[in-house]
């Protein structure tokens, strides 16, 4: 696992990263995730990290980056139409004609 930019958060970050990786590979990718198993650990990590981001003034830089990123959210946060669905659409169009 990679380190945190705040050394004091390394320990809780590692526990969170391990938890996430397990959840991602064993539940999320298999479509069986119903809850976020790592929420408690993330909250602890976030509390630690946000303090340091504020101290270093990075939180303000992040605000700007988030503004700039809106178009990416708009583009990628909607479901990508898979080629399979697309092929079905074409098929039904052809049939209609």
């Amino acid at each position: 696992m990679s380190a945190s930019l705040a050394p004091e958060c390394n320990e809780v970050k590692e526990r969170y990263d391990n938890c996430f990786l397990k959840w991602y590979s064993e539940k999320y990718l298999r479509g069986t995730a119903t809850t976020d198993d790592c929420q408690g650990l993330f909250k602890q990590y976030e509390t630690c990290l946000s303090k340091v981001l504020k101290e270093k003034g990075i939180d303000n830089m992040l605000k700007e980056a988030r503004e700039d990123n809106r178009e990416n959210d708009a583009e990628h946060l909607r479901p990508v139409r898979s080629l399979g669905v697309f092929a079905q659409d074409i098929h039904s169009l052809v049939q209609k004609r």
């Binding site: 990263d17 990786l21 991602y24 990290l49 992040l62 980056a65 990416n72 479901p79």
Partner: protein, 198 residues
């Protein structure tokens, strides 16, 4: 503005690649020592689409030559803001990143996509990378061009190294998963180990 584009293929399934993507800059990767830290800022699953959205902050050691450093202002680390979107149904991982350091002077926007390869969707994964580089600093066009050109060349140099490094991570991850599977199998077969677990 200058554009850098490339695509390549990994001999690993999309599931393996998308999992290892989260540990891409960890200790298994010996080719990216300039990445000092990777922090997760937020993570949510969109209830309507099932898309996993993650915000990360990537801290890198600055490795620009002195002439650029003196134009843009010297700093020893640079920060990159990345948002990623995993669509488990369409099987895509899309990573969008931008520079936070020097953002008034240089705008680098990169989009990378991992998706199952059309030639072997269950065994191979395609990686597509595209970066747009725009120098914003006022003044001579010549300086802007040089900065853009240098950044594009850096992308080219890093592309091969990035592939090699990720390949190391993928290989190591496969070994570790196989070891874990063996241990679980052993536990299930061995009476002594089963009792020891109780």
């Amino acid at each position: 503005m200058k554009i850098f584009q490339q695509s390549t293929e990994f001999d690993y399934s999309w599931e393996e690649v998308s999992t290892s993507n989260w540990v891409k800059y960890g200790p298994w990767n010996e080719k990216t020592p300039h990445v000092i830290a990777v922090d997760t800022l937020s993570r949510t699953v969109d209830p309507a689409t099932g898309i996993l959205r993650t915000e990360r902050l990537i801290t890198c050691r600055q490795s620009t030559p002195k002439w650029i450093n003196s134009i843009l202002g010297g700093q020893d680390t640079s920060l990159v803001y990345e948002t990623s979107y995993v669509d488990p149904k369409a099987k895509t991982v899309t990573l969008c990143s931008m520079n936070m350091t020097w953002s008034d002077l240089l705008n680098v926007r990169e989009t990378c996509v991992y998706r199952p390869s059309s030639s072997a969707p269950h065994a191979k994964t395609t990686f597509q990378q595209r970066a747009e580089i725009t120098a914003l600093c006022g003044g001579w066009q010549k300086i802007k061009n040089s900065i853009e050109q240098f950044t594009v060349e850096r992308f080219q140099q890093n592309a091969a190294r990035g592939r090699e490094g990720f390949e190391m991570v993928l290989q190591r991850a496969r070994e570790v998963f196989a070891e874990q599977r063996d241990i679980i199998q052993l536990q299930q077969k061995s009476k002594i180990l089963q009792e020891a677990r109780l």
